[in-house]
């Protein structure tokens, strides 16, 4: 009796199991969000950052009768998350991307040109607008931007009777003079990823290097400069492993007298009492030249939503409010980045004199994707390969850039 009923039950169990497996595979479709809500995909996973963002969103959305909901994922996952959302038609109303990722998305025709949703970007700086553009069309708006500068240990420089270096030659002599015992004169990031390349660009570009033609010879002196700093012992050989965070750690622990870094380190630098610091402009090859650092930061874009233009309009209204002079200034001060509206930038410069070099640098800063567009990730990898093989003594600067150019243009 028992065995018979058992046998009869068996197919039912098997069926149920098979059904459960199929059901599990089909579930997970997103529900359509509420019409009064504007959704945002960003990288504000840090609680304080998330709340700061929400604070500004609420400030803008409430008077419009809207609500803003953030979806935050780690910065290096924003692009792939956005792609997955796009393939399931559940992309957020606002997409906050790193400026260097914008062309990849603009190229897909998945983004709405920003003026079509009523955002006026005419009052923003040229460099900021370049960051949000692709092929001459503006898709993204940057609330604030950052760049790189030279941060130095004021006590160590004063002790040695030195001024922060303004030229490459001064950089080499100053770094050598400051190198003592456990302290290197200079620290920078030469890691084989976006961090290292971001730090290499101010030298490469200031020397006249061209990311579309890496092997034209102009960029080689920049590689030589980095190589000399390491060979002279003025910078650690470990720079090839350091990301920008590591560089900051070295500086704070007193193991580096000068470093290249960005304004996002300011909260960490201000929170410690071990090292007194100040900011100077990036050294240039020849006295009197303009430094050309990269411009960094995120841009907010509005994905196309042909089925519901109302949502696009709402997103545009929120963006317009976020980029008012007052909000830009408050946001810039909150995240230590430079506002992109000229009037807000001027006010920022006045109120934060110690960060003024950053405010000046973003004026001459250049967008990484302005010239090569969607090819930037490939160029970035090639450039990283170049400085890594030069710093580890595998190739001369000219050879390394030759290899890099071949890599960057392979398959074209």
């Amino acid at each position: 009796m028992r065995s018979r009923s058992g046998r009869r039950a068996a197919p039912a169990v098997a069926l149920a199991l098979a059904g459960a497996v199929t059901a599990a595979g089909l579930s997970g479709c997103a529900a359509e969000p509420d019409p009064g809500t504007v959704t945002v995909l960003n990288s504000a996973t840090d609680t304080a950052e998330h709340e700061a963002n929400q604070d500004f969103f609420d400030r803008c959305a409430e008077p419009l009768g809207l609500r803003v909901e953030q979806v935050s994922v780690p910065a290096d996952q924003v692009a792939s998350k956005a792609l997955r959302m796009a393939s399931s038609d559940s992309l957020t109303d606002i997409l906050e991307l790193d400026g260097s990722e914008l062309p990849q998305f603009a190229e897909t025709d998945g983004l709405r040109p920003i003026d079509e949703v009523g955002v006026d970007t005419s009052g923003l700086s040229d460099s900021a607008n370049a960051l949000g553009s692709h092929d001459g069309v503006q898709y993204g708006v940057a609330r604030s931007v950052n760049s790189l500068a030279l941060v130095y240990n004021t006590a160590l420089l004063a002790e040695a009777g030195l001024e922060p270096p303004a030229t490459w030659e001064e950089l080499e002599t100053t770094a050598a003079a400051l190198t003592q015992g456990d302290t290197y004169g200079m620290a920078f990031s030469a890691s084989p990823n976006a961090d290292g390349v971001y730090q290499f660009l101010p030298f490469f570009w200031s020397a006249g290097g061209d990311e579309a033609r890496l092997d034209d010879g102009a960029g080689a002196p920049a590689l030589q400069l980095w190589k000399d700093l390491v060979d002279d012992g003025s910078a650690s050989r470990s720079v090839v492993n350091w990301n920008q965070q590591d560089v900051n750690d070295q500086f704070i622990s007193g193991r580096a007298a000068m470093m290249i870094n960005g304004p996002w380190q300011v909260p960490v630098l201000s929170a410690q009492d071990d090292v007194d610091w100040a900011v100077a402009s990036i050294p240039v090859p020849e006295a009197g030249g303009d430094p050309v650092p990269p411009i960094g930061g995120t841009v907010m874009a509005v994905p196309r939503n042909d089925g519901d233009r109302e949502r696009e309009e709402n997103a545009g209204r929120v963006l317009t409010c976020l980029n008012s002079e007052e909000n830009q200034l408050a946001w810039g001060e909150r995240v230590n980045n430079v506002p992109t509206r000229a009037s807000a930038a001027a006010a920022y410069r006045e109120q934060n004199p110690e960060l003024a070099p950053f405010a000046d640098l973003v004026l001459t800063a250049r967008s990484r994707t302005g010239e090569v567009g969607t090819r930037w990730p490939v160029v970035e990898t090639a450039l990283a390969g170049a400085f890594q093989s030069v710093l580890t003594g595998r190739q001369s600067p000219d050879d390394a850039l030759g290899t890099a150019q071949r890599q960057a243009t392979a398959g074209e």
Partner: protein
């Protein structure tokens, strides 16, 4: 009769559905993708035009592919050899009961419990050329005065990555092999002792042959998890310096998630699958031969 056959199939159905949905579909999809121009645009439009062998040609033309393949082989062979030898030595050591042996064995499991990325970050500090504990230690005992460029020299970095991976893999090898050793009947050792066999002879003629099925399992599982290594390398060296620690795993990551060229990334993924498949088949054949031999 017919209902019986149906019942049989219904029992197989859940497993079959699961395999098809979670192994078959992604596998086929990955192979198809490697013949397509699969870019961010695809996610928006759903269009992925076929481009023949373009992706394959571009991957094989990439100098980095050859380097990454060779380094993956070195990394896998080096890691497995180290993990297995040390794991077996420790398993044999702990199979003799002594005071605190259980406690020490438990401590040795720790590297296994720590997430891979955490281990890698810690090791990055330990292996720092200027201030790492490892170089300070070597300097103190007088083995190296200059400091070894563990992670900053292209000629050493791969070795460092292998050493860290060995450290991570020892507990797994030790635990499984220890379990295998417990299964070997005591009488065989007693008989060997009566015959006057030396410890080495006992190990070779009793322990190793009886441990063989466990050894193959350990090696195959170790192989599968080592060949596709990604997180350890990303956190330890990021593939550098000068691409000296790039593996097929990091290359796929670079192509798919940094350059967003999913077609080329799929090609490297397929190469990895192919290598794993060869080993899986070898393992099955060895197993079948063992079964036939009545082992």
């Amino acid at each position: 009769m017919r209902s019986r056959r149906l019942t049989r199939w219904l029992f197989v159905a859940p497993a079959l559905a699961y395999l098809l949905a979670f192994f078959g579909y992604p596998l086929v999809r990955n192979v198809v993708m490697s013949f397509q121009e699969f870019t961010p645009r695809t996610y928006f439009t759903g269009e992925a035009p076929f481009n023949g062998l373009d992706n394959w040609r571009r991957v094989f033309d990439n100098d980095l592919f050859g380097d990454a393949l060779w380094q993956t082989i070195l990394f896998t062979v080096g890691s497995l050899a180290g993990q297995f030898t040390l794991g077996l030595a420790l398993a044999v050591f702990f199979s003799r009961r002594f005071r605190l042996s259980g406690f020490v064995r438990a401590i040795l499991l720790l590297p296994w419990l720590v997430p891979m990325v955490v281990s890698a970050v810690v090791w990055r500090r330990i292996m720092d050329e200027d201030h790492g504990v490892l170089n300070s230690f070597l300097g103190t005992v007088g083995l190296s005065s200059d400091g070894v460029p563990w992670l900053s020299s292209p000629s050493v970095a791969l070795l460092s990555a292998i050493l860290v991976n060995i450290w991570i893999g020892i507990p797994f090898n030790m635990v499984i092999l220890y379990g295998g050793l417990q299964e070997i009947p005591r009488e065989l050792y007693e008989a060997a002792a009566l015959d006057g066999a030396s410890p080495w002879r006992t190990f070779r003629s009793v322990t190793l042959p009886l441990l063989r099925p466990v050894v193959t399992v350990v090696l195959v599982l170790g192989f599968m998890s080592t060949i596709k290594i990604l997180d350890l390398i990303l956190a330890l060296t990021g593939g550098g310096p000068a691409d000296s620690t790039q593996t097929l795993g990091t290359l796929t990551y670079q192509l798919s998630f940094l350059q967003l060229d999913f077609g080329q990334g799929a090609v490297v993924g397929n190469v990895l699958i192919l290598i794993s498949a060869v080993f899986a088949v070898l393992y099955l054949r060895v197993n079948r031969a063992d079964l036939r031999a009545g082992k």
